[in-house]
């Protein structure tokens, strides 16, 4: 048996090394850490437990039968964040570009199944070239299975997606179905990369034009949060996680509050203008009323005329929606309406009270807004508030 144990250790050591060391080193030069390093930064020390390390692919096309893909290019399992259970997966770009094959997809689906059964959140670390084309339809089935599960879990347990390095093709749609998308500054996400776009549309578009964090956080609104680098994104994800309950039948964890819950805020008499037409910075108000002035801002640089953020009052996590009079006078255009509506619906699904700070002239009017369906898109905000049953 000693021999068998020694052999097991050799096998495990080999599998945890991931892909080609040269590829790993090249990614590291670009600030991209290994799949396992990322998990170790995200989770509490020594809390990660791995599933399915020994999984192998079953593809016999194009000489693939000779190819070894350690862990099928994704590390999966569970761990803890501030001692709370979370299910995780981390795609390994150093192994076949982190591509999504049949067994790769099966591994991720198992993570989501366990999260649903145990009513615990899911955090996916996405870094993948998309479908593994050599497997033809094998991965395609599993993308369907994954999207189905993302939708089934939506509103039952929180789902958070991290985008690191490149995330392409079908792989981008799984984050699109989850509750929050966090990107690093140098990451990119798109449903089709430059080569595809050139081949299909004849258009030259760079990777960053198609999906940079800058574009997704200011123009498309796809990204909820942009972090400086991979170490920062893991820290920020832990901060966000602490605002969320583990499932839709629990409340968010209440932390000890060092900020006196009933202190006066006399500065607000200076901040709030006497004239209702004079703008003021809503953040000046918010940071003075929430616990310790701490806000976790969602979509900070998108539709800045409305603010969406998590904060605490006397240790209790809440969602904050506030007009920003500094930007367009705090008017609500279709982008602001959709941004806030989605945030309110998340809070309602997960028992987070919503506090609204209102200083807005009204919905935006004019031909641009009307032709962009301000009636139905603006109505999403009305619907979300009317539908909400949280405080």
């Amino acid at each position: 048996l000693q021999n068998k144990i020694a052999n097991l250790r050799v096998i495990k050591e080999k599998l945890t090394r991931g892909g080609d060391p040269k590829a790993t080193e090249k990614l590291l030069q670009k600030g991209q850490l290994s799949a396992r390093k990322r998990l170790s930064l995200l989770l509490d020390p020594r809390s990660f437990v791995e599933f399915d390390m020994h999984v192998t692919h079953h593809c016999n096309n194009f000489g693939m039968e000779k190819k070894e893909i350690p862990c099928d290019a994704v590390v999966t399992g569970y761990g803890k964040i501030n001692n709370r259970l979370v299910f995780v997966y981390s795609q390994d770009y150093s192994v076949m570009g982190g591509t999504f094959g049949e067994m790769h997809g099966n591994k991720i689906c198992k993570v989501l199944d366990k999260a649903l059964e145990n009513r615990a959140p899911v955090i996916g670390i996405n870094n993948s070239g998309g479908l593994r084309l050599q497997e033809i339809l094998g991965g395609m089935k599993l993308f369907g299975e994954l999207f189905y599960r993302n939708t089934l879990l939506s509103g039952v347990v929180p789902q958070i997606s991290l985008v690191l390095g490149s995330v392409a093709g079908g792989q981008a749609y799984s984050p699109g179905l989850t509750d929050f998308i966090l990107m690093t500054k140098n990451s990119n996400m798109y449903i089709a990369g430059p080569a595809f776009v050139k081949a299909q549309l004849g258009i030259d578009a760079s990777e960053s034009e198609l999906g940079s964090a800058e574009m997704h956080s200011t123009v498309s609104g796809v990204a909820d949060f942009v972090a400086e680098n991979e170490i920062d994104i893991m820290h920020q994800t832990r901060v966000l996680f602490d605002f969320l309950p583990s499932c839709n039948k629990e409340g968010a964890p209440v932390f000890y509050c060092s900020d006196d819950p009933s202190h006066d805020v006399p500065e607000l008499e200076e901040i709030i203008p006497d004239n209702s037409y004079s703008p003021f910075n809503m953040f000046d108000l918010l940071i003075r009323v929430v616990d310790n002035g701490e806000l976790f801002i969602i979509k900070e640089n998108y539709a800045q005329n409305i603010i969406t953020a998590f904060a605490r009052f006397n240790g209790q996590p809440v969602g904050i929606v506030a007009n920003q009079p500094l930007v367009m006078g705090g008017v609500i255009n279709y982008r602001a309406a959709e941004k806030a509506a989605r945030f309110v619906r998340f809070c309602d699904a997960f028992n987070l009270p919503v506090i609204t700070f209102q200083d807005s002239p009204a919905y935006m009017i004019g031909p641009h807004e009307e032709s962009n369906a301000i009636i139905t898109r603006g109505a999403k905000l009305l619907h979300s508030y009317a539908e909400a049953t949280v405080p």
């Binding site: 649903l116 084309l133 033809i136 395609m140």
Partner: protein, 106 residues
């Protein structure tokens, strides 16, 4: 949208259907990149490889072999299979975990 795995109950295809994730030429360009680079006449080689890929995988029989579709049908039977499927599915019930509502991307 018609994937069984995101919830389609029955999926049928005509014999001429092409069921793949990306266009054959694009897929072949990625899968066979090395072969094409090595080839004496890359254009001829590309044509050969794309056509091989096409014959082998871009047809409904391949998708049916994966159970992605329930049957390959003749166009004349279209109405009949829809009517029959609806009748078979009359009692369909699906259990879902409790939620107030989902969080659809807005």
């Amino acid at each position: 949208l018609g994937s069984k795995y995101i919830g389609a109950d029955m999926v049928f295809a005509y014999p001429g259907a092409e069921i793949v994730s990306v266009a054959p030429k694009t897929a072949a360009g990625i899968i066979f990149r090395k072969e094409m680079q090595k080839a004496v006449d890359p254009q001829k080689e590309e044509k050969r490889l794309v056509s091989e890929y096409y014959d082998k995988f871009v047809n409904p029989y391949n998708a049916a072999s994966w159970q992605h579709i329930d049957d390959i049908i003749e166009p004349k039977d279209t109405r009949r299979v829809i009517v029959s499927s609806l009748e078979m599915l009359k009692g369909k019930k699906v259990l879902r975990p409790w939620k107030k509502h989902g969080n659809i991307p807005l």
